[in-house]
Symmetry: T
Subunit: 140 residues, 12 copies
C-alpha cells in the first residue's frame, strides 16, 4: 500500500524546484512496474482528505505501508493514531528534505509512529522505501 497525502495530485506541476518534475501518474506507473516485477500486489491512492487516509489505513488489508503524509506530516494525530493502531510496518517518505525547509516543516508528528523515515531524494524516496518493503515481504 502506498498513500500520497494532500496536494500530491499536483506533483510535477507544483514548485518543481522543490518537488521534482515527475507527475504523480508517471510516479505511480513506475511504482506499479517495480511491484509487479517483484510479484508484489500494490495499491496506490492519493487523497486530500485526512479521514479517507485514516479509513484506508485502518480498513484495508495490507502487509506494508509507504506513506508520504505531505501537509498532514505536521498536523495529523489521527493518521499517527491509525498507524499505531494497525501495527503494520510503515515507512514515512518525503520528496524534499524536510529538515532543510521552513521551521514548521521540520517537525513530523508521524515519525515516532513509523519504522523509518526517508526524506529528500525526490521520487527516489519512494523507490528506496519500496526496495526495503519488497525485501521484507520476501523474507516473510
Amino acid at each position: 500500500m502506498v498513500i500520497h497525502g494532500p496536494n500530491l495530485h499536483l506533483l510535477g506541476k507544483r514548485q518543481p524546484n522543490i518537488y521534482g518534475k515527475v507527475t504523480l501518474n508517471e510516479l505511480n506507473k513506475k511504482l506499479y512496474q517495480k511491484a509487479t516485477t517483484n510479484n508484489i500486489d500494490i495499491e496506490i491512492i492519493q487523497s486530500n482528505s485526512e479521514s479517507k487516509i485514516v479509513d484506508k489505513i485502518t480498513n484495508t488489508e495490507y502487509d506494508f505501508l509507504i506513506i508520504n503524509p505531505a501537509a498532514f506530516t505536521h498536523t495529523s494525530v489521527a493518521i499517527k493514531d491509525a498507524i499505531l493502531a494497525v501495527e503494520k510496518p510503515t515507512i514515512e517518505v518525503h520528496l524534499s528534505n524536510i529538515y532543510k525547509r521552513e521551521d514548521f516543516r521540520k517537525h513530523s508528528v508521524i515519525s515516532d509512529a513509523v519504522l523509518g523515515v526517508i526524506s529528500g531524494f525526490k521520487e527516489a524516496s519512494y523507490f528506496l522505501a519500496l526496495d526495503y518493503a519488497i525485501s521484507c515481504l520476501k523474507n516473510l
Copy 2:
C-alpha cells in the same frame, strides 16, 4: 447525542492495555440500553472525519452532547468552534487518562469549550457522562 472520534471504530482491537477490551458495538449497545431505560432518545455516531463531526454538532437537534474527540482532542479548532457555536451542554470524555500519556496528548484544545471533562475510566467514562446528562435532562 454521543460522538466517537477517529480510530474509535477499532475499539477493543487496538492497544487494549490503553483503551480496554470492549468493542465499539458492545459499548454502543450498553449506552442505548441505559438511555432507553431512562426514557432518553440517544443518537450515536463514530467518524474519522472532522467535517462530519462538525456537521453533526452544528446541524442536528439535541439537548446534550457527549464527545470523545480522540485524536482531534489535540488538533481540531473546528470542532471546538462548533461546540462554542451551538452552546449546548457538552462533556468531553476519554477512555485513557490523557494526562498520563505522551506530552502532546496532555493538551486538549477542546477542554475550555465544554462543561466538563471525564478522563481515564475506560468505557465507564461514557457512563459517568451519560449519568450526568440524564440527571440534567430530567431536571429540564
Copy 3:
C-alpha cells in the same frame, strides 16, 4: 472565488457580538451583486471540510481567491500548501480582528502564503477584499 471555512454556515446566528448579525445567505447575495455589477464571475462556497477546500483551490479555474479559513486559519498546512501550489493572488479575510482574541487565534498558518490579510471589519472585510480583487482583475 470566495471560500468560507468551517462553521461559517452559522454566520449571523453564532455569537453575533463577535461575528456580526448578517447571515451567510445575505452576505453571499451582496457579494454576487457587487461582482455582477462589476462584470466579474464569482463562485462562492462554504465548507466544513478541509479536503473539499483543498480540492476546490487546486482543481478549479479562477483568477483570484478570497478565503476566510475560519478555524483552519490556525491548523491547516494542507490549505496553505494548496494556496502556495496554485500561485494565484489570494486574500485572507477575517470577520473579527483575530489579533484581539485568544492567543491561539492570533497566529495564522495561512498568512505567509497569501498576498495580503484583512481582519476585523465584520462582513466589510469581504467587500474590501472584493474591491481589491476587482481592481486587479480590471487591470489584467
Copy 4:
C-alpha cells in the same frame, strides 16, 4: 476516603459563580448518605495543610481515594508522591472546569499519578467519582 484541599472549607461562600452554592457541610452530608446507602464506609476530611493531607493519604487504611486537591493541584509534588507511594485507586475531582480558567490552573501536577480525572460538574464531580468508586468496591 474523600479529601478536600485548601480553602474548600469556604465552599458555598466563596465565588459561588465558580464553585457553586452548596456548602461543604451540605456536600459532605450527601456524600455520607450515598455511601451509607451503598454500605460503604466513608471518611471525609478537609485540610488547608499539605502535610496533613500527605499524612492522611499515607497513614490511613482505605480502598479508594477521591481527592479535590484545590490549590495543591498546581503545586504539590508531595501529595503526588504520596498517591504514587500508596498505589490505591485515586480520582482527582474539581468543582470547576480547570481547563477553562487562568493558565496556571490548567496544569495539574497530580493528574498523571491518578486513575482518572473528573472536572467541571460542580458538586456532581464528587458524586460521579463516588459512583465509580462504589461500583469498583462492589466488584472487589
Copy 5:
C-alpha cells in the same frame, strides 16, 4: 487622520521590491484627492518620532485614524496606549504583508488595540482603509 510612521518619508526610494515605487508625496496626494472627492477632511503626517505620533493621536480632534506604525508596530506600547486612550476607530495598515517577513516583523503590539488590520496591498492598503473610513463617516 492618516499617520505614517518612521522611515516612511523614504517611501518609493527604499527597497521598492518590498514597499513599492510610489513616493510618499504621490501617495499623500492621492489620499487627499479621494478624501476631498468624498467631502471628508483629512490630515496626513509622517514622523520618525514616537512622541510626536503619541501627541498627534491624543491632542488632535478627529473621527477616524489610519496608521501605518512601520517600525513602531513591533515596539511601541506608548502608541498602543494612546490609541486605547482616545477610543477612536483606528485601522492599522502595512504596505507589505508583515506575516511573510522576518519573525520579529510578524508580531504587532498595536493590533489588539485597533478595529482592524489591512496588510500586504502596497499603497492600496491605505485606500482600502480610507474606503472603510469614508463609509463609516457617512453613516455617522
Copy 6:
C-alpha cells in the same frame, strides 16, 4: 492584620544587607505603636506554615490585610486563593526589591490577587502599607 511569611522570624539576623538590621520584634512594636496612635486594632503574626497563614486569612475577622509572603510569594497558590476568597483589601509588601534579585524571585503568584504591591523599602515597606490602610479605614 499583618502577616509575616516564612523565615521572617530571623529578621535582622539573616543577610542584613538584603533585609535590613531591624529585628521582627522591633518592627512589630513600631507597627503596634503606629496603629494604636491611629486608633486602629492590629493583629500581627509570623508563621513558617502555609496552612496557618491560609487559616488566618480565611478564619479571622479583619478589614485590611498587609502580607509579606516571603518565600510563599513564589509558590503558594493556596494563599493566593485564600486572598481571592475573602475579598478584603490586601497589600503585598517586600523588604527587598524583588525585581532586583534572582529570576525566580521576580515572579509573584500573589500579586494579581492583591490591591497593590510595595517592594524594596526595607521595613518602611510595611509602614507605607500601614499608612495606606489607615487612610482607607478612616474613610470607611
Copy 7:
C-alpha cells in the same frame, strides 16, 4: 523630581476604571502642596518623549526621583540606563496594579534599576512614594 510618562497628560479622562478620576493637574497640585508643606523643592514634568525623560533624568540636579514610566515601563532601556547612570534614589510608581493586567504589562524593564516599586494604589501610589522621599530627604 516627579516624572510622568507617556499618555499621563490624559489622566482622569482615559479609562477611569483603571487609572482613577483625578486629572493630572489636580494630582500635581496636591503633590506641590505636600512638598511645600514639608519644605521640599519639587519639580514635576509630564512627557510623551523618551528622550526628554532621559534628558531630564541625566541633566537636572535633584536628590530623589519619583517616576511613573507608563508605557515606557515595558520598553525603555534608555530610561533604565539613565537611572543607573545618575545613581540617585528612585521610586517607580504605577497607578494600576500592573501585575493584574495583560501579560506584557507585568514585566518592567525599569524595576531592577530602582530602589523600590509602588504599584496599584491609584494616585496614592505617588503620595506613598513622596512620603518615603520626604522622610529620606529629612534624614540627609
Copy 8:
C-alpha cells in the same frame, strides 16, 4: 542534623526499585551508629511538613546539615531560604539519581543553596554525606 523530607517514612515499602529496600528505621539506626562511633552528636527527623522542616533548620543548634528534601526538592523556596539564612554547611542527598527521572524531578530549587549534592546511591548517599560531615567536623 539529618532531615528526611515528605513520604520518606514509607522508605523500604514504597517503590523499592527506585528507593531501595532498607526501611527508614534501619537507615536511621545505621546513621546513629556511625555518628556514635565517630563521637558526633546526631539528630534525625522525618517530616511531611515544610514548616516543621523550616522550623527545625532555623531554630536548632547544629554544625552540619544533611537533608533529603524529597518532594520539596522541586517546590520549596521556604526551605531554600531557611538554608541560606542559617549559613551552615549543608549537603543535599537523594536516594535515586534525580537526573534520570521525570523532567520535573531533574530540577532542584535547593541545590544552589547548599555546599554540595550527592544523588543516586540509595542509602549510601546518606553515608557518603555523613563521611564528609564527620571529616569536616573533626577539622573544626
Copy 9:
C-alpha cells in the same frame, strides 16, 4: 566514502535491541561487496574523533558521502560546516529511528546540510543509501 561516527566500533555488542546485532566488521564487509559488485570504489572509516571526521570530509577526494554521525548528529557544527564546504552529495543515515527516541536525539544539526536522510532501518539504512549513491554515480 562511508563514515561511521563515535561508538559505532561497538556495533553489534552495544544495546542490540536499538542498534541491531550485526557487527561493524560484518556491515563493512557487505558494503565493500556491494560497492565492488557495482564497480564503485569505496572507503570506509569509523572514528570517535570529530576532528578526524572533519579532516576526512575536507581532505579526501570522493564523489559521494554516506555518514552516520551517531552522537555528533546532535552536537557537531564542525562536521556540518565541513559538509557544507565540500558541497558533495551527502546522505545522513541512522540505524535507529531517531525520531522515536529521547528528545535530544530527535534533533539533528546535520540534516539541513545534506541531500537526504534515511533513519530507522538498522543496517539496511546504509544499503538504501548506497543504492542511491550507486545510481547517482552511474548517471555521472
Copy 10:
C-alpha cells in the same frame, strides 16, 4: 559620520569600570584628529532621541556610518530600518563587551543590519572602526 546613542553624553562620569574614564569630548576630539590626519570629513553627534538618530541616518549625506546605539541596541527597530534603507556601510560599536553583560544586553536588534560589529575595547572600539572606514574610503 559617527553617532553616539542615549546616555553617552555622560561618558567618563557614568560607571567608569564598565565604560572607561575618557569623556565624550575627549573621545570626539581624538576622532576628529584621526579623521583630519587622514583627510576624511567627519561629523559626530550624540543624541538621546531615537527620532533624531533616524533623521540623521536617513537625511544626511555620508559614505560610512559608525554607530554606538547604546540602549537603542536592544530596542530600536526604527534605527535598524533606517540603516537598512540607506544601504551605506555601517559599523556597530560598543564600549563594553555586551555579550558579557546582563542577558537583555546580549541581544542586538541592529547587528543583522550592519556590515560588522566591534564590541568590548572601550574607546578603542571607535578607533578600530574608524581605521576600517578610512581604509575603505581610501579605496573608493
Copy 11:
C-alpha cells in the same frame, strides 16, 4: 578507572576559589594511595580530547568508572553514549557545585547515563566516589 576531563591539567592553578588549590598531581597521588591501601587497581588519565575519553571508556577493561567530565559535562553526547554502551557502574563528580554556577553549567548531558552524581566537595568529591566504588568492588 578515573577520568579527568578538559582543562583539569590546570587544577590548582586555575581559579582556585572555584576549583580548590590542590594540583592534579597531588590529587592523583592521593587517589593512588587510597586505591593501593584498599588493594584496588586504579588507572587515572586526564585528557582534553573527547575522542580519547570515548576510546578509553569503550576500549579499556575496568569494573568501575569515576569521571569528572568538566566542560564535556554540558556538551558531549559521545561520552554519554560511550557510558551507556559499556554499561559499567559510573559516578559523575564535580569539584564545584555546578548547580550554583552559570545557567549553562547547571545542565549535565551525562547525568542520566550514570549511577550517581557527587558535586561540590572540591577534591573530596573524588574520594567520596572512590569510597563508594571500593565498597562496591569489595562486594563483588
Copy 12:
C-alpha cells in the same frame, strides 16, 4: 598567538561569498608581515581539533590571543574554559557577521569569556584585532 578553528584550512575555496577569497596561507603571510614589522613574535595555527586548540591555549606561553573559533564558537565549552583559565587578553574574530546568519550561528558560547569581539570584516577582522593587540603589547 593566532588560532584558526575548524574548516578554516579551506579559506578562500569554501563559499567565498560568505568568507572572502583570500586563502589561509595568504592571510597568515600578511599577519606575519604585520607582526614582524611591529617587532612582535607571532605564532599561528589552524586546527580542526577542539583538544588541540585547548592544548595550545593552556600549554603555550603568549601575551595575547586572537581566535576565530569557527564552528566551535557555538559549541565548545572546553575552549571557553581554557580561555577563562589562562586569563590572557583574548579577541574573538569572525570573517562573516555572525549576527546576520542562521539563528544557531548568532549565539557564541565564547564571547562572554573574551575581552572583545570583532565580527563581519572578512580578513580585516584579524587585522583590526592584531592592531589592537600590538597597541596593547607596546604599552606593556
